[in-house]
């Protein structure tokens, strides 16, 4: 039994309420990196998990997979990292390493991924970044570019890669083309930033008129389309080359397909709880497609972080203390955040250990 003591905040039942929690992490082995956690982003998946929305949560669970911190120890086989390095950990902490997906640096499609929290692993279960430190195999640790702040950079480890990967894979990167970003939350706001960095024209598609001002003035989208206004939607018919759909509620695909030009591509990264209705006619008549994508492999996540370093892309965050997490979760469930909560773990976790 490992002897390191770890401390974090966990949910203990499907009320989703989080509270202080002591647990044990494994020892740092030859391939491992130990990092002191400074910041952890609050992803909507954390909320789904603590409430057992997807039906596979095992309690107690310490969430958090947008982890940023400083290396405190490295194993003897570790060459990429050293003490003091500024690093991050994202959605997975291991995979089989042998399958076709792993061999192609597509660990997010490995049939046996080990999620950073709520997964069986080495005889115990993984616990995530709402905690003081974590021990991770070096392959699943990312290097932060020197110029990227750790607090605003943490959400890139899930939100960032979740939109970056499909934008690359589906070829949504041709300068001058027109990208629609459906949904303006954690994923959506980062998609706008990547879109602008790729040289695209970006339109935010949202049902909330109150989001327009920030979309344009703060996030620098080129335009805003109110999806609940049929006339405006009609006027935008056939104007977009790509759409990133980050909306997690059940919503109409018909109206989104109408916005696409010939050969248009809609990528869905939101996870509605019920199936959507897929009209086939628009696909056939316009050679359009709908595709999915699941965060991204480690190599690509590093590429994404380096891209963010080069283009100064970070998330717009609201920094919170560890003991404010339950309020933050409530606000998140009402989409009341611009645009990601990040827990100031190092400065607030230990004081909550009463």
């Amino acid at each position: 039994m490992a002897s390191s003591n770890a401390f974090g905040w966990a949910a203990t039942d499907s009320s989703g309420h989080l509270s202080p929690f002591h647990f044990t992490r494994r020892e740092n082995e030859a391939d491992d990196v130990t990092l002191k956690i400074l910041y952890c982003g609050v992803c909507h998946s954390d909320l789904h998990t603590v409430k057992n929305d997807w039906g596979f949560t095992t309690y107690p669970v310490v969430p958090g997979h947008e982890i940023a911190g400083i290396v405190t120890k490295v194993g003897s086989n570790v060459t990429k990292f050293k003490e003091g390095d500024r690093v991050g950990v994202g959605v997975i902490v291991d995979s089989c390493k042998e399958c076709e997906s792993c061999q192609q640096d597509l660990e997010s499609y490995c049939p046996k991924p080990v999620f950073t929290y709520n997964a069986p692993y080495k005889g115990t279960r993984t616990q995530g970044g709402y905690s003081n430190f974590v021990v991770v195999h070096q392959r699943y640790v990312l290097q932060f570019p020197g110029n990227l702040p750790l607090d605003a950079g943490a959400p890139l480890l899930c939100a960032g890669i979740t939109v970056y990967s499909p934008m690359k894979y589906y070829g949504m990167t041709e300068p001058g083309k027109h990208l629609g970003v459906a949904g303006l939350g954690g994923l959506g706001h980062v998609a706008i930033k990547f879109g602008k960095a790729f040289g695209l024209k970006v339109t935010v598609i949202s049902s909330s008129p109150s989001k327009e001002a920030e979309a344009i003035d703060l996030l620098r989208a080129d335009s805003f389309l109110l999806s609940s206004d049929p006339e405006k939607m009609k006027a935008a018919t056939g104007t977009m080359d790509y759409i990133i759909d980050t909306i997690s509620a059940v919503h109409s695909l018909v109206s989104l397909f109408g916005l696409l030009k010939l050969n248009g591509k809609l990528v869905t990264v939101g996870l509605p709880s019920k199936p959507l209705q897929l009209p086939i006619f628009p696909l056939v008549m316009g050679r359009k497609l709908i595709g999915g994508s699941n965060f991204g492999g480690l190599k690509e996540t590093q590429e994404m972080l380096d891209f963010c370093g080069k283009h100064n892309i970070t998330a717009n965050i609201e920094l919170i203390k560890m003991d404010e997490i339950n309020t933050a979760m409530e606000r998140l469930s009402k989409a009341d955040v611009k645009y990601r909560f990040v827990i100031d773990v190092a400065n607030s976790l230990s004081s909550s250990n009463i």
């Binding site: 010939l262 990264v269 086939i280 056939v284 497609l289 595709g291 999915g292």
Partner: protein, 355 residues
């Protein structure tokens, strides 16, 4: 008469869809036109939908037929690509705007002003009449040359069924040796997808609800395997094995089991168009980075490419040649999918003018 030249064919006059002899007219051969005597015309399921006004847009009287082949009898003064006696064909379109982005990219099939070969408003204000008729006049841009290596009767269905599967197989990369292709539905489109798949060097699995189709799929069409989609065990065994699926079924059917057959990063392309939306849980798309796409016929340049490929690689539709006056019976049989795998009307020998 709308036009100066008398023509005759068979037309549907109401939504019963029953066809009967019909006299009409066609335009003179214009400077860009090719006129050809029709020898054969394939029967596409779209013809059946249209004669019965199932899509709600049929203009009667309707002379169907958009898999038309024959021999050139006259060319306009500006036509250089074709000459008298050439074996030619016309598919689903006879005109487009020729100016938009789609037309510029050889994607006339996606031009918003594309004119269908039959039942459509043509640029001169008249209605187009299709290939169940004695001759056709078409702009040379939309005329396809039929290579000698292809028998004319078998070539006809390539002009719609062939291009409809060839185009997405090329565009979505489902054309590489060693990849594993699934074909859903084994009719006119499906059997062409199997043949092109094998010609591309792919492994091909037919997915169907009809156990009776298994023997033909494997022994006659050369498919490598057959999965009965109503058998959960067979479907389970086949999960995660396909790089791509061409789905030719136009009835509403479940997508989820088909998505399960795809490997990660797999693609399913719909070429049939169910009229109601299909249920799509996004989880399988996201977990496997899979995509669902659609495709509609193909551009003219690609249609010519496809025909040349078919001639070179011996990809020939399996047809049942019928006389003109069998057409109503053929339509009834088509409705029951009782054909292997395309009816082709022997226009040249059996379409006789009425008095």
């Amino acid at each position: 008469m709308e036009h100066p030249r008398k023509a005759f064919g068979w037309a549907a006059t109401d939504s019963s869809g029953i066809l009967s002899p019909f006299n009409f007219s066609r335009r003179e051969t214009g400077e860009n036109d090719v006129t050809f005597k029709v020898l054969y015309c394939g029967i596409c399921h779209s013809d059946l939908h249209m004669v019965k006004n199932e899509w709600g847009n049929t203009i009667y009287p309707l002379v169907p037929g958009h898999e038309i082949v024959g021999t050139v009898t006259e060319v306009g003064s500006k036509v250089q690509k074709f000459k008298l006696g050439d074996k030619v064909g016309v598919g689903c379109m006879v005109q487009s705007c020729r100016k938009c982005q789609s037309c510029a990219e050889n994607l006339e099939n996606y031009c918003p002003q594309m004119v269908l070969t039959y039942g459509a408003n043509n640029v001169d204000g008249t209605i187009t009449y299709g290939g169940y008729s004695n001759f056709m006049v078409a702009d040379q841009h939309f005329v396809i040359r039929i290579p000698d290596a292809l028998p004319l009767d078998a070539a006809a269905p390539l002009l719609c069924a062939g291009i409809t599967v060839y185009s997405p197989m090329m565009y979505f990369g489902l054309n590489k040796p060693g990849l594993h292709l699934g074909v859903v539905g084994l009719g006119g489109l499906g059997h062409m997808a199997v043949k092109f798949g094998k010609a591309f060097g792919m492994k091909v699995t037919v997915i169907s609800t009809s156990p009776a189709k298994k023997a033909e799929a494997i022994q006659h069409l050369g498919a490598d395997s057959f999965v009965l989609s109503t058998d959960p065990h067979q479907m389970k065994v086949a999960m995660g094995t396909l790089d791509g699926i061409i789905d030719t079924v136009s009835a509403v059917h479940p997508l989820v089991p088909l998505l399960g057959l795809l490997k990660s990063h797999g693609k399913i392309v719909m070429v049939g168009a169910p009229e109601k939306p299909l249920e799509l849980p996004v989880f399988p798309l996201i977990m496997g980075r899979k995509l669902v796409a659609g495709s509609c016929i193909g551009g003219i340049k690609e249609t010519q490419e496809m025909i040349d490929f078919a001639a070179k690689h011996g990809v020939k539709p399996d047809i049942e040649v019928i006389p003109m006056d069998y057409v109503n019976t053929a339509m009834e049989r088509l409705l029951k999918a009782d054909v292997k795998y395309r009816f082709v009307i022997d226009i040249g020998n059996t379409l006789n003018p009425t008095s």
